[in-house]
């Protein structure tokens, strides 16, 4: 498709790399992306090997699977053990280890009913086809995914499908960026903002980056020229000491986002505190179902609790997610922890930074 493939043109990328070198003028730049698709795109396209040595690429908490907390996985396992419950989930959550190393995959092997779905609507179809069971959809994801779950809840209401509910553990990107910036050990100089989350949010929720933290924030696409353009804009903002939040992906993101998707999300969900792997509890960084939808809320309907847990022994995913440690610096990386036998979630998801480092050979 011309709309994207034209942005892979090496000719354009060379020009952008030159513009980046000029803007940097020998200075260094540490940027962080907060989107699993960016992580993979930067490795897959070979951009990492082309970037000037003075540019440091950090992968932040942008993979919903990777930031899923042990306590949340424990709740999934609790659900999977219940009678007459079918757990419906996106596939990449299946292998995320919980506090005792068990995952939904283990539970499934032991007879639990765990079904992989591509869309929350598929989980609703599962409920329609299994009227004697309660289908619980695991609501994991950021602002891109939450509206799709809200739309599914609306459909469940309209079609009067009552054996369906959601365990809402959705997370919000802007509060996580703020938490990272408030952490004294954070050495990020600019953010590459997530293209897909921004289709929903638009630019306004990121304004605090420039206003309060004097930090450039650029919404970027996923083709090599898109990413390089975003890096050029960051470098120029840093050079000119003029931080701003900019949309460098206008073909897919409008500055005002998708108001319809946000309205639907707000109809069903309300901000709540959430647990992030590596970052801990962040105030108002998650989405809980509104009290009037208690019948759609798995936490209430099944009286679920998120237990206190201890971190996985030896796993350094938390520091990786904060950009404090590169994956190969973790003692488990490539030894005990590989994509075939992951210890931590950053190795489980194909979009996790450990999995990307492993797959693309940066050991």
């Amino acid at each position: 498709m011309q709309l994207n493939s034209a942005f892979q043109d090496p000719h354009l990328c060379r020009a952008l790399l030159q513009r980046l070198e000029t803007a940097l003028n020998g200075r260094s730049m540490r940027f962080m992306e907060v989107c699993g698709t960016h992580t993979v795109a930067i490795f897959q396209s070979g951009l990492r090997s082309l970037l000037p040595a003075s540019v440091t690429h950090l992968s932040g908490p942008g993979c919903p699977v990777c930031v899923t907390h042990d306590a949340e996985v424990a709740a999934f396992l609790d659900l999977a053990g219940r009678d007459k419950v079918i757990v419906a989930t996106f596939g990449d959550l299946l292998r995320v280890p919980g506090p005792d190393g068990r995952s939904l995959k283990h539970a499934q092997a032991q007879g639990a009913r765990v079904e992989i779905v591509y869309s929350a609507l598929d989980a609703l179809a599962l409920a329609r086809n299994n009227p004697g069971d309660l289908v619980v959809f695991l609501g994991i994801g950021f602002e891109t995914t939450a509206p799709t779950v809200a739309a599914t809840l609306l459909t469940a209401r309209q079609k009067k499908i009552e054996n369906f509910c959601v365990l809402s553990l959705h997370k919000l990107v802007p509060p996580a960026l703020r938490a990272l910036l408030d952490d004294a050990s954070c050495a990020v100089e600019a953010f590459l903002l997530p293209g897909h989350v921004s289709t929903v949010l638009g630019l306004a929720p990121y304004a605090f980056l420039a206003d309060e933290y004097h930090m450039p924030g650029v919404v970027g696409g996923f083709e090599p020229a898109d990413i390089l353009l975003a890096l050029c804009i960051m470098a120029e903002q840093l050079r000119d000491r003029a931080p701003a939040v900019i949309n460098a992906y206008p073909r897919a993101v409008s500055d005002t986002g998708n108001a319809r998707a946000r309205a639907l999300m707000e109809q069903f969900f309300t901000p709540s505190d959430a647990l992030w792997r590596g970052l801990g509890r962040i105030p108002r960084s998650g989405l809980a179902l509104r009290p009037e939808y208690a019948d759609l809320d798995a936490l209430i309907r099944l009286d679920l609790r998120l237990p206190e847990t201890r971190p996985l022994p030896g796993c350094r995913c938390g520091q990786v997610l904060k950009g404090q440690l590169r994956p190969p610096q973790c003692p488990l990386f490539g030894k005990k922890c590989t994509p075939a036998t992951p210890v931590g979630p950053c190795m489980v998801s194909t979009e996790g930074s450990c999995a990307a480092y492993f797959k693309y050979g940066e050991h």
Partner: protein, 83 residues
């Protein structure tokens, strides 16, 4: 998981659903259009995430961005390559 894919609408169906073609491939999906702010048309390009179209891609914006990048590339032609 935050994966979203560009796709072209090939057929509008009942209940806000549409059949879409993924990229230029021979893969087709059924996706819901209910999150789009404007009613979609056959031939529109959309970004699909987890079975829902999230946004209509703008060919005009794509052309404008490309034109600006190509202008930059031409302006850089004259300067010596650094790699």
């Amino acid at each position: 998981m935050c994966l979203a894919i560009p796709a072209q609408i090939v057929e509008l169906q009942e209940e806000g659903m549409a059949r879409v073609r993924v990229g230029e491939s021979h893969t087709f999906l059924t996706a819901s259009m209910m999150l789009l702010p404007e009613p979609p048309h056959v031939g529109d390009y959309v970004i699909v995430h987890a079975g829902f179209a999230m946004h209509t891609l703008s060919p005009q914006e794509a052309q404008d961005s490309l034109a600006a990048l190509r202008e930059l590339a031409e302006a850089m032609e004259g300067s010596p390559a650094q790699f």
